[in-house]
Symmetry: C2
C-alpha cells in the first residue's frame, strides 16, 4: 500500500479506471465492487484491486467501493485534484483538433497556451486561447506550465522539445512522427497514429 515500485502499467490504467468510474457515476451507480468495475472494463478484478492497493485501501471488505470516494482518490493519486496546465505547440490539423477538444476538463486539465510559427495563425483566438509566436515558448517557465503537447511536424520536433525542456517543461506528449531526445528527468509519451496502425495487420493475423 505504499510508495515506489509502482508498475508503469498500473499508472496507465488508473486514468482508464477513472474514466469508467465517471461514466458509471453519471449512470447513477454509487457503489460497486472490483468485480463490477472490472466487468465494465473487460479486465480482471484482481488487476483492479492490485493496482489500487499500491496506493491505499479505498474499499470496505465485504462491501466494495463507493464510486465518489474512488474517483476522488484516483484524482488525488494522479495529482488531478489540482488544476493542471498544458501548453500546445503546433496548431496544424491535429493541434487544432486538440485545441478544440473539450474533454480534458473532466480530468482537471486545461490548455492555457498555444504556439505556432505561422504568422497567419499567431494572434488567432480559439476556444479563448490566443495562439502565440513559438518564440515565446520560454515564457512557459514563469507561467508555470510543466506539461506540453507537441504537435509540430517532424522537422521542428527536436528543436522545440529542447526549447520546452529549457523552459522547464517536465512532461511531453509527443505527436510528432519521430523520436525526440530529452534529459531523463523529462517524461515523454509518444503517440504516432501511423505506428499504431502499422501494428494492426500483423496483430490481426495472430
Amino acid at each position: 500500500m505504499q510508495n515506489h515500485k509502482i508498475p508503469d502499467e498500473t499508472v496507465h490504467r488508473l486514468p482508464v479506471y477513472l474514466r469508467e468510474l465517471l461514466t458509471l457515476q453519471e449512470q447513477g451507480i454509487e457503489k460497486l465492487s472490483s468485480q463490477e468495475l472490472a466487468d465494465s472494463l473487460g479486465c480482471g478484478c484482481y488487476q483492479v484491486r492490485k493496482d489500487l492497493s499500491y496506493f491505499g485501501r479505498f474499499g470496505k471488505r465485504g462491501v466494495g467501493y463507493t464510486t465518489e470516494i474512488l474517483i476522488r482518490e484516483i484524482l488525488n493519486i494522479l495529482k488531478l485534484n489540482v488544476p493542471q496546465k498544458a501548453a500546445l505547440i503546433g496548431i496544424g490539423n491535429l493541434g487544432l483538433a486538440i485545441l478544440r477538444y473539450t474533454g480534458f476538463g473532466k480530468y482537471n486539465f486545461r490548455i492555457t497556451a498555444a504556439f505556432d510559427s505561422d504568422g497567419k495563425k499567431i494572434g488567432q483566438i480559439i476556444r479563448n486561447i490566443t495562439i502565440e509566436d513559438i518564440k515565446k515558448i520560454r515564457t512557459l517557465k514563469r507561467r508555470s506550465v510543466r506539461i506540453a503537447i507537441l504537435a509540430t511536424p517532424e522537422a521542428a520536433a527536436q528543436q522545440i522539445a529542447d526549447e520546452l525542456v529549457e523552459a522547464g517543461v517536465t512532461s511531453i506528449l509527443n505527436f510528432a512522427p519521430c523520436n525526440i531526445k530529452v534529459p531523463k528527468n523529462v517524461q515523454v509519451r509518444n503517440i504516432d497514429i501511423a505506428m499504431e496502425l502499422a501494428c494492426l495487420p500483423f496483430m490481426a493475423s495472430e
Copy 2:
C-alpha cells in the same frame, strides 16, 4: 527465429524501428549495427536484436544490417508489403485531422473510406475521399476493408463498433473516449489523449 509467442511489446516496437530506419535511409545510411540503431532510438541493442530474432536472421555476423533489407523485412513481417486499406469513421475535428494527414503512405496505408452521420458533411470530398453516410458501413465487407479508425463521439462509439465488426472489420483503432466491447477475435487499440495526459502529473513526480 520463428512463430508464436512473440511479445506484444516487440510487435509495437517494430514500427518504431521501421520509422527510424526510413529516416536513417533518407540520410544516406546504407548499413548499420544494432548498436547504431539502438543509439538512434534511445534503446538497448540487445532489445533490437532480440526483437528481430523472433522473425528471422536479417543481419550478418561481424558486419551488421543493410538498411534497405531490414526495412523490407520489417515491412514483410508487419504485412505492410501489400497496400493496407483503412476506413475512418467520424469526421469531426480529430477525424478531419487524420483524413488530411499524409504520413500513412510510407507504411503502405491508405484511408479508402470515410463516414459521418452529419448530412452537411456527407458528399464532401477531402483528399480525394468522399465522405459517405454512416449507414453505408456495411459496404466495407465487399470493399474488403478490415481496418477501421473510430473517431466518433463517445455516445456513438459502441454501436458503430458493433456495425464495424458486423461488416467484417478485424482491427479497430479507437479514438473515442470510452471502452468499446468487441469479440475477442477483433483487435482494438485505444488512444484517448486525455488518458495519456492524465498520467503525466503523477509520472513527473516519480
